[in-house]
């Protein structure tokens, strides 16, 4: 699969196609990231988080058109993950002297810093303070495009209207937390 095809899959509105892209990336690019994180004081859970964040950052950069097609998607994603892990290590005040230092090939640190919009970070933090149920409902409805009927059956609600109300309450709660 070429990078162009992969980008099309990742930016697709169709969940199935997007998941196909994710699946391909996980299969192809996860192991090097896992290997790097493990070599630098991390564990598989850290690698999982870093890869998730790296892929999200990649998609955001594709949408922002800050991804330069001069480098391959694979090396770009890998570099993002490396930098994210370095940031993480710095946060944890670990000794970074022995950490394999990144090349400045993409100046990603700078890019990532600028792209991590403050507001986005605030919303993300607030989203995490939402209850698990609210998080799930919002993701199911807005990301996975599930219908109200599906939510009604999942949460055993009396009607689709009840499901709609539940979703609205969750969204309002998040909005109020952000404000």
């Amino acid at each position: 699969m070429t990078d162009t095809q992969l980008i099309e899959l990742l930016t697709s509105e169709d969940n199935g196609l997007r998941n196909k892209g994710f699946s391909y990336l996980v299969e192809r690019d996860y192991e090097p990231v896992l290997s790097y994180v493990k070599r630098n004081s991390g564990n598989p859970e850290d690698a999982k988080d870093i890869f998730q964040e790296g892929l999200i950052a990649l998609i955001r950069n594709i949408h922002n058109q800050s991804f330069r097609k001069t480098s391959s998607l694979k090396s770009y994603l890998y570099s993002i993950c490396k930098n994210l892990w370095l940031q993480e290590l710095r946060k944890m005040n670990r000794n970074t002297a022995e950490i394999e230092t990144s090349t400045s090939e993409h100046d990603l640190e700078r890019n990532l810093a600028s792209e991590f919009d403050e507001k986005l970070q605030v919303v993300r933090d607030k989203f995490n303070t939402l209850g698990e149920e609210c998080q799930k409902i919002l993701v199911l409805f807005y990301y996975k495009k599930k219908s109200m009927k599906y939510l009604q059956e999942l949460y055993q609600l009396g009607s689709t209207q009840a499901a709609k109300n539940k979703k609205s309450r969750c969204l309002k709660k998040l909005s109020s937390l952000v404000e």
Binding site: F22, E31, P32, S35, P44, I56, V123
Partner: protein
Amino acid sequence: MDRKEFEVIMQVIQEEGIRQELGQMIDQKHAGVQKTWLKKTIWKSIFGVALVSVTAVSAYWLLSKNKEDAPTTTSGQVIVKQNLTEETRQTPKSYKKDNTESSTKDRSDVQGSLGDWQSDIATKTDKTGAGPMTINTGKSEPLEEIKPGSSTPTQVDTGSDEDIEPSSEVDSTDDLEDTQVNEDGSIPADSDTSANTTINIPNSDGQGDTVASDSTLARDAVDQGSDEPIEKKNLKWDFTTGIGYGFVSTGDIRCLTLNNEIGYRFTHRLYASVHGNFGKSYGNGDIVNASFITGGVYMHCSVLKPTWKNQLRISAGPALYTISHTYRGSSNVVNGQIVWDYIFERRRAFGYSIAIEDRYAVTDRIFVGARLYTHQFRNADIVSGANLNFGYKF
């Protein structure tokens, strides 16, 4: 909630959705990685055991075959019946030194016959370790009758179909200094035949007059400052096997060699490996046959900046060496016959090895290479040669 805020919230929800999807996929991948690791470990173990087994069997075969082939493994002697014009007795020589002119001439005369005998020697040599034997090539007149002696030499007439008989016809008495030989090669009637027909032969255990010798990461592998990856996969180990041609001992033994090596990559420029080199010679010059084994450790360093395709490296490390070989020792002329001593010798030595090798990647995993190497040992032996290598990274 304004539109901008809504968009930000939607983006966060999207990210969360992606995170959830990826989380499941990565968990599955983790399980897959563990399974793959287990599989790889099992295969590596099987491969390692198989390699060690093949190495051990090869070494055993080479050494045991050498013993079987060696005519003087149990000490042996060949008498060539030939009319000579003068009485000669060749001074025992080292196999490393050139023979005298006459000896060389004599040897060249009988070279063809010797080749025929070698197989007979292997089968007909008295393997009890008793002592010398005499062989009549059938080219000349029958062997002179020899007086019985104290030891148990064997007389073999390859010109007839007679089997080897433990013989008491040969006396293992002292030396040939007093041998009387007429100009026509015959022995005077009054000469003491028993004193003229045997030569002390070194034993196979190295005592006696034997010449004693103490004798191939994903993108983390992107090279600094270069976009070209050195390794497309994170493959740390490699196995190399190679065949080649080499010069052993003082360089006078020419051998076909088989080299096996397991390497480990520390960095893109630094590697280590354990190697075993086997060689076998089927005879040339005074050497009847020889086989050797060297083993050791190499540290490899890429002198030039390595690339994915090509890697030039120099290697050095300690090495051990053991050689078993059979060669022609002294020759004597007795009653117009040339008698050859064959000496079996085994020696071991410690030394070092240096090599230069160029590797060329065929695929991510498979590579070929050419290596020039030389081992230098403390007993002044060398093993030098060239190998064509085939390798697999894992």
